[in-house]
Symmetry: C2
Subunit: 311 residues, 2 copies
């Protein structure tokens, strides 16, 4: 096997009340990495499409090749020669897990090319290194679901403890990306380091409610639990029309609506594809009223995560 093409999906992290602990993958869009052996030693990026020239071409600074280098080092493979093409199919800094999708596609492609020495779970720390390269901290709430699929819970970071929970088949995600940009580091910087005990308890109640609602397929409970009293009130000020767009989603059939990742994308969850479409159209219309273009993605919860497209 000398050539691999791998796909890793976009993801919604935080999921209302679940800051840093919840994330899920959607079906589309996703990044694609092409990986080929070559005769000369070392790793080179021969092309990146869709990034408007913004991602680093230096293999150590690019998260795709950065995670590959980590993996090769871990496996003690030294006499290698590879060339990499990255197709970015989602915007950078969008809140759709863009850097995670690239890193996951990279690490999955390399693992496949090497004959799958590591399991998906074992690849997780390497993919997280891609997040560290891209944003300075090794978060798992995008990488986890992009790699593993499903609705992911990160119980703990030290030690890393991550698992998936079942979700109802009829749960659909609406993802709307407005044409504005937020830097992930800024979005984290504006958060307060202290939370009131009262808000902590409220958030814990909603976390418990969302997990139980998803596992019981109790759509009312899911809806009541999609409340974030800690992060959303702060970060939403970075998204123009946030309140109006959220209201539009919920008035048009969504169970709940919040910020995807650190924004500016907004997501909604709905019962059934029709509600997800209606919510998405209402959200786009509200952004458009304020003169903001947006892209709409409707998807079920992606249960498989990253996949190999071709050898």
């Amino acid at each position: 096997m000398n050539s691999i093409k791998a796909f890793a999906p976009a993801t919604v992290a935080n999921v209302a009340c679940g800051f840093d602990i919840f994330g899920f993958a959607i079906e589309e869009p996703g990044d694609v990495v092409e990986l080929r052996r070559r005769d000369e030693p070392g790793i080179v990026i021969t092309n990146i499409t869709g990034d408007e020239g913004r991602l680093p071409r230096n293999p150590e600074k690019n998260s795709v090749t950065g995670v590959m280098l980590h993996l090769l080092k871990h496996l003690d493979i030294k006499d290698f020669g590879y060339e990499v093409i990255l197709h970015k199919n989602m915007p950078l800094g969008s809140g759709m897990g863009s850097s995670a999708a690239s890193a996951v596609a990279g690490v999955v492609a390399m693992n496949e090319l090497l004959g799958n020495p590591l399991t998906r779970q074992e690849l997780l720390p390497f993919a997280m290194e891609g997040e560290r390269i891209a944003s300075g901290s090794a978060h798992a709430d995008n990488v986890g679901p992009s790699l593993l699929g499903g609705f992911v819970v990160i119980r703990s970071y030290h030690p890393l403890d991550i698992f998936t929970i079942p979700v109802p088949d009829d749960l659909y995600c609406t993802l709307v990306h407005p044409d504005i940009e937020i830097n992930t580091k800024d979005a984290r910087y504006i958060l307060r380091n202290e939370v009131s005990l009262k808000n902590t308890i409220a958030q814990m109640g909603n976390v418990a409610g969302l997990v139980a609602g998803l596992m019981k397929a109790d759509y009312d409970l899911i809806s009541r639990s999609m409340v974030d009293v800690i992060i959303e009130p702060v970060r939403s000020i970075l998204i123009p029309e946030f309140k109006e767009v959220k209201t539009a989603a919920i008035s048009n059939g969504a169970l709940g609506c919040s910020i995807s990742g650190s924004g500016p994308s907004m997501f909604a969850l709905s019962r059934g594809r029709d509600n997800a479409i209606a919510a998405g159209q209402a959200m786009q219309a509200r952004f458009a009223e304020a003169g903001i273009d947006s892209a709409l993605h409707i998807s079920g919860i992606n249960k498989g995560g990253a996949k190999i497209l071709e050898h």
Copy 2:
């Protein structure tokens, strides 16, 4: 029907990571309220056993009769005459939900005597008033499970949103009450009003893990999630030998161990009755080494909650 005897079980609130949001009922012990109609108007407490004379005999200040008066007022029943006997079968200020059990037994007895005008769920706010009478705040994490049974989650207090989640049949509770006393108000007073965002995230992860672990019957996940980084580190200083007793429980088969309610009782959860007994004996032995007597209760999770013993 002129006479009722009702039983309401002891409860474990907080349940490690779930401060103010989790609680479950055990089989025994529980308080018993006897309620009889009488010819003279008004409500009187004719006897209280097991309280060493410490509970108020004034019907408005006693939580059992206090909740009855609230219920009668709500139902607009004015020409009543009742006499009440309360059998306290657990110590006051023990962290076993003592005041909740009395209030729940009272409200269930009165509702039964009146022909059950309200459902169990509808009785909840009245039972919570009993907590307000006893401790100054209307918490639901003892009252909820004592009234409804099972493992209870309080998603929200305003509005009140409470539900139960399924737990594995083979889950057993060890409850050890050391012969020392903590005032619930003091135990609340020493808590900080602010929590670091880092600890909030850690606690949320454990809340999600405990709900998922219980619903999936994943004992390892239950065990890993029984971690409280917010409340236990503060309140445990009020309980002599806390660390040693906790270690004894976990080293002898318990999945996890923490403070029951606001203490000083400590509880453990175990897979199977044998582990629950072994953990309990080790906990008692460790308290005894420090010269502290204790009472031990082993129980499955009580799925039915309060019940009518006889008419």
